[in-house]
């Protein structure tokens, strides 16, 4: 990419600015005593102001510059990284957790075989599996899982609708932040199971109790996630938004929210975890026929019948649902957002 012509042949200059080189224009120089008065005279350079734009000559070799620029761009382009082959992904991403699960099962089986605890207290993996299979054949298990998942999802969505504007207010309005910011952080460290007795006293054994506990668990973490997302926005992006005219709600919609998205999604993930946890706590404690049967109630049923395989089976289901929703919904969304921003390869 050698620039062959260092000097573009110059066409004759217009009469006003013949080849007389630089013409420094003297200004009154500021001195100490000139503090109070304007330091420069008004401009009076008619020739400069009417100086034509250099259109014809600057474009003498437009293709030269275009070619040079294309070359620079090509040199800068490091190329896209090839997709990693599927076998490699499976080996590095899927194999380790499978091995870990197999190891845990093996240790569990070993503990069972050695009879570290009586079998009614420590059943084997197979016994737990059979307990779940029995529930499956009774035809109740899907209904139980759905009961909890739908409650969790609805609670999460309501928490989202409450937590998002709350987070925005705390993040952007100084007095609001000073007033409830610390309370919001404090609520996040309060185990939401602590709200169950209060909720039962307020709402009785109804769905309202369960949703109240879920909201009190999830809203603070969603709001706090958004606050920390907003706090970590590059101030330059906010300035750029202002310069482009994105102010008020337009600014929130086009700059503030998208810029805060990575932190917000982290908050949503945590909000879901808190929703799910609070829901299980509420279902476990607030059991009544009107409330229907969720996973928490299944756990409580197992306890009351001293049915350890069922208890462990219910715990496994709670775990699988929690991890499944994280892996199927939140992880892909988060990866996509981060990859678009070049924060993840």
């Amino acid at each position: 990419m050698a620039s062959t012509e260092t000097h573009v042949p110059q066409s004759p200059a217009p009469p006003g600015e013949a080849q007389n080189g630089p013409k420094p224009k003297e200004q009154t120089q500021p001195t100490a005593q000139e503090h109070s008065q304007p330091t420069i005279k008004e401009q009076s350079h008619p020739t400069a102001k009417e100086q034509p734009h250099p259109t014809p000559r600057e474009q003498a070799h437009p293709t030269d510059l275009a070619g040079l620029e294309a070359g620079l761009d090509a040199l800068d382009n490091t190329g896209t990284t090839p997709r990693t082959p599927l076998t490699h992904t499976l080996r590095t991403k899927a194999l380790p957790p499978l091995v870990a699960v197999a190891l845990v099962l093996a240790l569990w089986q070993l503990a069972f075989a050695l009879e570290l605890k009586p079998h009614y207290q420590l059943p084997s993996p197979l016994m737990v599996w059979n307990a779940l299979a029995e529930e499956w054949y009774k035809g109740t298990i899907l209904g139980i899982v759905w009961q909890s998942v739908s409650r969790g999802a609805l609670g999460f969505l309501v928490a989202l609708a409450v937590g998002t504007p709350l987070g925005l207010l705390v993040a952007r309005v100084g007095p609001v932040r000073a007033a409830i910011g610390p309370i919001l952080s404090g609520l996040q460290s309060l185990p939401s199971v602590a709200w169950v007795p209060a909720a039962i006293i307020w709402f009785g054994l109804t769905d309202a109790t369960i949703y109240a506990v879920v909201l009190l668990g999830a809203v603070p973490s969603i709001a706090n996630g958004l606050v920390s997302g907003v706090d970590r926005i590059d101030p330059l992006h906010l300035r750029a938004g202002k310069v482009l005219g994105a102010t008020g709600l337009t600014g929130v919609r086009h700059v503030l929210l998208p810029a805060a998205l990575p932190g917000y999604i982290a908050g949503l993930k945590q909000g879901w975890a808190f929703s799910w946890r609070s829901l299980m706590a509420a279902e476990l404690i607030a059991t009544s026929p009107e409330l229907g049967a969720g996973l928490g109630q299944l756990l409580e049923t197992g306890r009351s019948y001293q049915d350890m395989p069922l208890v462990l089976g219910a715990i496994l289901l709670i775990l699988v649902v929690g991890i499944g929703i994280e892996l199927l919904i939140f992880a892909p969304v988060e990866r996509r957002v981060l990859r678009h921003r070049g924060l993840l390869r």
Binding site: T6, Q10, A13, E17, Q19, N20, G21, P22, K23, P24, K25, Q27, Q29, P30, H35, Q37, P38, T39, I40, E42, Q43, H45, T47, A48, K49, Q51, H53, P54, T55, R57, E58, Q59, P62, L65, A66, L68, E69, A70, L72, D73, D76, N77, L236, H237, R239, A240, K242, V243, L244, G245, A246, T250, H254, V255, P258, A259, L261, H340, R341, G342
Partner: protein, 253 residues
């Protein structure tokens, strides 16, 4: 939007007796500067001269302590040293957002964004993510986004300072070309004397702490200019001498 033809006589920026104080620190002292339509002015100064502060004031991001700033052509465009492109949007969408905020109807946006990308010679970069572009390409997209505001005044805050010398040189040429094609007024802040002379019709030297206009030069060197030109070098030497004089005064007290 096309008021340029009817307002040729109205200056694009009128900065009158502007001073700015942060706390007890005076940053700008009595700056008076007028830009005519299509004029290219560079503001030159050492650190602490308040160059960027002056641009922020002109952009309306801050207001002066004393004096007035008028920008008759509406909200000026501002380009930063860092590209300041939104990483959650593609190059094309970044430009389209500027078009949307300027009020361009949705139907025209994609076409206009593509035209602007072609203007900065980035045809085909529409769908590229910001992190997929090189530093020079990002600044060109940022320039296209600034131009998308269709403002008569373009403020540039050391836009090429973070680029390598080869890319910077090419972008000087690009900027001159685009400026000549669009008739926009440019107020360009830099601490690079040669860059200032290479680009401008008028170089304004600011002294530091507080920033005051120390001196101005008309640059009558014909285009096309190169940063290596003897004329550019000659004037640069003279301006550098003056700049050093300004800096030395600070060592004396």
């Amino acid at each position: 939007m096309t008021a340029t033809t009817t307002q040729t006589k109205t200056p694009t920026a009128i900065i009158k007796n502007v001073s700015k104080t942060f706390g007890h620190q005076q940053v700008l002292d009595n700056i008076t500067l007028t830009l005519t339509p299509g004029e290219f002015v560079t503001l030159l100064g050492a650190s602490g001269c308040g160059k960027s502060t002056l641009l922020n004031l002109a952009a309306g991001l801050d207001s002066p302590t004393h004096g007035t700033i008028e920008v008759p052509g509406g909200r000026p465009a501002l380009m930063f040293q860092e590209h300041a492109l939104f990483p959650w949007l593609t190059a094309g969408r970044n430009i389209e957002l500027a078009l949307k905020l300027r009020g361009l109807p949705k139907a025209d946006r994609t076409q206009e964004a593509e035209r602007l990308l072609e203007l900065v010679r980035l045809k085909g970069a529409y769908g590229k993510r910001v992190h997929e572009l090189s530093g020079g390409m990002r600044q060109r997209v940022a320039l296209a986004r600034a131009l998308a505001q269709d403002s008569q005044l373009l403020l540039m805050d050391e836009p090429f300072a973070a680029l390598d010398a080869i890319t910077r040189d090419v972008l000087h040429e690009e900027l001159t070309r685009i400026w000549s094609e669009t008739n926009v007024s440019v107020l360009f802040v830099t601490h690079n004397v040669r860059e200032a002379v290479r680009l401008a019709q008028r170089v304004v030297l600011l002294s530091s702490r507080p920033g005051r206009i120390a001196r101005e030069w008309e640059v009558d060197i014909p285009h096309p200019r190169r940063i290596e030109d003897a004329d550019v070098a000659g004037l640069s030497v003279e301006i550098t001498e003056q700049l050093r004089g300004e800096i030395r005064r600070h060592g004396q007290h």
